[in-house]
């Protein structure tokens, strides 16, 4: 069993895109050679922003709900596991349905495999491989007390809205408590001008924020207004 006081936290604002997590995941003893984690470049032409994507381990996993073969199981401690042999029929329903884009179908093996929060490690009191090596600690594994002490500027959330579906997850996403002082730097030219231009884009995490009023200059719009914490 994964100790119930230890949790997985993701903070994309810390991510530096180094792929240590991806490389380390391929070293895990249950699936050596394959990474169950992937790194998303949001738009490399515009920014160095990257996001590490691990399984969020939903309370009511959509992947399991849509599985016609009942091959995806959730452990008592809330970890959603890879599809089980011989049940998995490699239909790919889970791949299509997962709102976070996590499961992957391995055509050669005719099975879906995904992140299982390093169950072989976490169940014996170790940290997952990715969160252990992550040089920026964008991936963190520890207690709520530790994260509160280490990350006073952000707060964990684990409820996400996709259309009409509200999803609660075991994995927490760290969200800034308040508007970070400057907008992130995305284009060198805006940092070269005497008059700074904001290039930040509004992200909508839960509820849509108020529409910016047309008479408000773009620079003063709160880029994090859409985030509900």
């Amino acid at each position: 069993m994964k100790p119930d006081y230890l949790h997985f936290f993701i903070d994309p604002s810390r991510c530096i895109g180094c792929q240590a997590c991806v490389q380390a995941c391929t070293e895990c003893d249950t699936h050596r050679g394959e990474s169950m984690i992937h790194l998303e470049f949001v738009d490399r032409s515009q920014s160095t922003q990257t996001v590490p994507v691990v399984c969020m381990h939903c309370e009511e996993p959509t992947c399991a709900e849509v599985c016609p073969a009942d091959a995806i199981k959730r452990t008592g401690d809330g970890v959603v596991q890879s599809a089980r042999r011989p049940r998995c029929i490699a239909c790919g329903n889970c791949v299509v349905a997962c709102p976070f884009g996590v499961p992957e179908l391995y055509e050669d093996r005719k099975i879906m495999m995904k992140c299982d929060m390093c169950y072989d490690r976490t169940s014996v009191g170790k940290k997952p491989m990715c969160a252990t090596v992550c040089p920026s600690q964008a991936l963190f594994f520890g207690t709520h007390e530790q994260i509160a002490q280490l990350r006073p500027r952000s707060t964990p959330v684990n409820r996400f809205q996709f259309g009409n579906q509200t999803i609660t997850t075991l994995v927490m996403m760290m969200v800034p408590r308040e508007l970070a002082a400057p907008a992130p730097y995305v284009d060198v030219t805006s940092a070269m001008d005497e008059q700074p231009r904001s290039r930040a884009k509004v992200l909508k995490v839960i509820a849509p924020g108020p529409e910016p009023s047309p008479d408000q200059p773009a620079d003063e719009r709160d880029p994090f207004a859409g985030i509900e914490v």
Binding site: S13, R14, C15, I16, G17, C18, Q19, A20, V22, Q23, A24, T26, E27, D29, T30, H31, R32, G33, R44, S45, Q46, S47, T48, Q49, T50, K127, M129, T132, V133, C134, P135, S136, Q137, L150, R151, P152, R153, A180, A181, P182, P184, Y185, V186, D187, V188, T189, A191, M192, D193, E194, P196
Partner: protein
């Protein structure tokens, strides 16, 4: 003639770089290791702790080492995959001799015959041209024991002044600036001092890609309230969310520091009491900075006045601060001045030598610090001693049991050694841990020099691009095949442990050097039987020097998980033996004693005061011009390391970023009619290169960036300029004039060479 023996493609077919992959026991999900060996990563200067999984004399994987204090289990992708350098298909397991009759260009040679061939050639050159006709090139990825032995080998056995090392391309500007300002060349504070500061200034350091573990220190500092200022022509991954990004034009760093210091002076955001009590030379700096008005600084540096003012205000009003820099400001013909400019900001605010206030330089290589302390640098002897200082010479000659008059004087820097090869003065070369054909600037010239050598010996574990020129290649040891100490970025001495034995006829590098010494009939001083014995002599040789290791033992390093030098065996105040000096994590603490100042003050000068130095801005050599209107700057990517001899052989790392690209801003790309992924040609006064374009907004529109890890026609160093700093002799890798156009066709290598070749 050390020319390439046969068509280089045939050599590549035989010796690689080929890619290692996870196969067999390295892929199995059920194989258990025999043991875990606690050691360190073989790559950068962070020296992360790692445990290697060993089974049947093979490294089969890794396990994080969470107890090691610097990285607590964290690793970058290079560290994760470092174990794949072992048991490699390209590993040299015999000596090789140049052989034009072989299709592969080289034939295996029994080890003893190879040593005999090497010593006969050195003898011949010595008899015909004297000892100075043979030079030695070393490297800062070697353990400290090896660098010590290499320096001794050059001076005592070969009797040549010509030894230098690849730290010449790395740490020399920082080192020279530190000696000029503080009298000692070491990062002044442990990284833990960063967390809890008010402001951190990162000058010319792509932390996220070149020293990834430092990122967590930065982010943790920010969580606790630090403002982060980053100075770089590119929005590097860590700069994306910094609090203030200074988009400096390449080569203008000294101007930027002078302009900011001028604001600090004008606003009186300086620590007069500290300046008066602990420094000298401030008045000259004040006088110099007066010309750096905000307007002029902004114009020269390309950084808006508002940002300069903001940086000055945060830095000036802070109570605690940390500044560190790396190659971005050091790889310049003005590199020492750039570094001194940053140090002036630190000294003017008096924030050094205190908890939560410090200054550091990021070392690039595993032993970037230790590798420059004990004698493979052309002007130094062990303990950071000076080879021109009569007292220092006498002491080291005593330790080595030779007459001081037989100890050669200072040599010349690495690049100057190549000029001496070109001029026919140096005719024989022994190189270890250095791949200058990829890593030196204007490497067409370097290749020509290698071709001219009458005899060239390479000691290496893979046949590097440089080793392809060798007459004899001696099979050396990988990091995990030997033990010894290295000194990492903070000045912490740590212990590398042996995990596996050398394969085949390969052997530990220190044994190879000793075998050559014995073959030359000069075994005196080269009869060590273990790295520990070498280290025990090094402790004595460093004693009384600035880099004093006399109180360091292997046991203490393992017990304390690292020892910061200086670490004394005898109290420098009284000369009384100390039973257990723990080392010195933070330099320059108020009231601290050092053997140079002898109590006069915390800095390493006889008066105990730090020195302000006028850090003069000079435009780069071969600056952007009408003919070459862009700045070319070079650097690293996270998945590759230096010249790639190791990392271009590790499959998963090559796949992460297979081939170099030319990074450019969309504004520039539009003007040139180049789209992302198009073949583009970059040209400088030295040569041209055709690579695919990478169009990103994260670089200045007047600058292009090319990573330098690749060889041949993919090598960025075909373009770079061999201009050097007059003091440190570091090459100006970070800027030269360049022009770019869309390429008419794909380069010739496309479809013939694999990405890593």
């Amino acid at each position: 003639m050390a020319t390439i023996p046969v068509d280089e493609h045939r050599i590549i077919e035989a010796f690689g770089p080929h890619l290692s992959s996870m196969t067999g026991v390295r892929l199995s999900t059920s194989v258990e290791p025999d043991r875990l060996v606690k050691t360190h990563c073989c790559f950068c200067g962070q020296q992360c702790g790692i445990q290697l999984k060993v089974r049947d004399n093979q490294v089969i994987g890794f396990e994080p080492w969470e107890d090691f204090p610097f990285n607590r289990g964290m690793l970058c992708p290079k560290g994760v995959k470092r174990y794949l350098q072992g048991s490699h298909p390209d590993r040299l397991v015999t000596a090789l001799a140049r052989d034009t009759s072989s299709a592969r260009g080289f034939s295996p040679l029994p080890y003893d015959a190879a040593i005999a061939r090497v010593t006969a050639a050195i003898d011949r050159l010595h008899k015909a041209h004297g000892p100075s006709s043979v030079g030695v090139l070393g490297g800062a990825s070697l353990t400290t024991e090896k660098t010590y032995l290499l320096g001794k080998f050059a001076r005592v056995c070969l009797k040549t002044p010509y030894i230098d090392y690849n730290g010449r391309l790395c740490m020399v500007s920082a080192g020279a600036a530190n000696k000029k300002a503080f009298g000692i060349d070491r990062t002044t504070s442990p990284w833990s001092d960063m967390v809890g500061t008010d402001v951190i200034w990162v000058a010319g350091s792509n932390v996220a890609e070149c020293s990834p573990i430092t990122t967590n220190y930065l982010w943790q500092a920010r969580e606790q309230g630090a403002k982060i200022i980053m100075q770089d022509p590119r929005i590097t991954p860590a700069a994306r969310t910094c609090d203030l990004y200074l988009p400096v034009k390449p080569g203008r760093d000294a101007a930027l520091f002078a302009g900011v210091l001028q604001i600090l002076i004008e606003r009186d955001w300086i620590d007069r009491a500290f300046i008066d009590a602990h420094t000298s030379g401030f008045d000259e700096v004040v006088e110099y900075c007066a010309q750096w008005t905000l307007e002029r600084t902004s114009e020269v540096t390309g950084v808006p006045a508002r940002s300069l003012m903001q940086a000055a205000e945060w830095w000036g009003r802070a109570k605690t601060s940390f500044l560190f820099h790396a190659r971005g400001i050091e790889h310049h013909s003005n590199g020492v001045q750039n570094a001194l400019g940053s140090i002036n900001l630190v000294l003017a605010t008096g924030r050094i030598g205190k908890p939560k206030s410090g200054y550091g330089t990021i070392v690039g290589q595993a032993n970037g610090q230790g590798g420059r302390e004990h004698g493979q640098k052309c002007d130094q002897l062990p303990g950071l001693r000076d080879i021109s200082n009569p007292e220092h010479r006498k002491y080291i000659a005593g330790v080595w049991g030779i007459d001081e008059r037989d100890l050669p004087g200072p040599g010349v820097d690495t690049y100057e050694m190549f000029r001496k090869i070109d001029a026919g003065e140096i005719k024989g070369l022994i190189a270890i841990c250095f791949n200058p054909k990829v890593s030196l600037p204007d490497n067409t010239f370097v290749t020509r020099c290698l071709d001219k050598l009458e005899f060239f010996v390479a000691i290496d574990f893979f046949l590097s691009e440089t080793a392809r020129h060798a007459d004899v290649v001696l099979p050396g040891s990988l990091h995990e095949e030997d033990e010894g100490v290295v000194t990492q970025v903070e000045g912490r001495i740590i212990k590398v442990n042996k995990a596996v034995a050398c394969p085949g006829e390969a052997r530990e590098d220190w044994r190879i050097l000793q075998d050559i010494a014995h073959g030359l009939g000069r075994p005196h001083g080269f009869t060590f039987t273990s790295p520990r014995e070498i280290f025990e002599e090094l402790r004595i040789a460093s004693k009384g020097g600035v880099a004093d290791y006399s109180g360091v033992t292997y046991e203490k390093v393992e017990r304390q998980l690292g020892v910061f030098w200086p670490c004394y065996s005898d109290d420098p105040r009284t000369g009384e033996p100390l039973t257990d000096h723990p080392g010195t994590p933070r330099l320059f603490e108020p009231g601290s004693y050092n053997p140079v100042a002898k109590g006069a003050g915390p800095f390493y000068f006889p008066d105990g005061r730090a020195r302000f130095n006028v850090a003069d801005y000079r435009p780069p050599v071969d600056d952007a011009s009408e003919e070459y209107p862009l700045f070319l700057t070079t650097g690293r990517v996270v998945s590759q390391f230096l010249s790639g001899t190791q990392t271009r052989r590790i499959g998963p790392l090559v796949r992460q970023y297979p081939e170099p690209r030319i990074e450019m801003h969309p504004r520039l790309a539009d003007k040139l009619g180049i789209a992302d992924g198009d073949w583009a040609m970059a040209e400088t006064r030295r040569g041209s290169i055709t690579l695919r374009a990478m169009v990103v907004t994260t670089i200045r529109p007047d600058t292009v960036f090319i990573p330098y890890h690749w060889p041949g026609r993919k090598s960025a160093n075909q373009l770079t300029v061999a201009a050097q700093d007059p003091i440190s002799k570091i090459p100006q890798y970070k800027v030269c004039g360049c022009r770019v156009r869309k390429a008419e066709r794909a380069p010739e290598y496309d479809g013939i060479l694999e990405p890593q070749q």
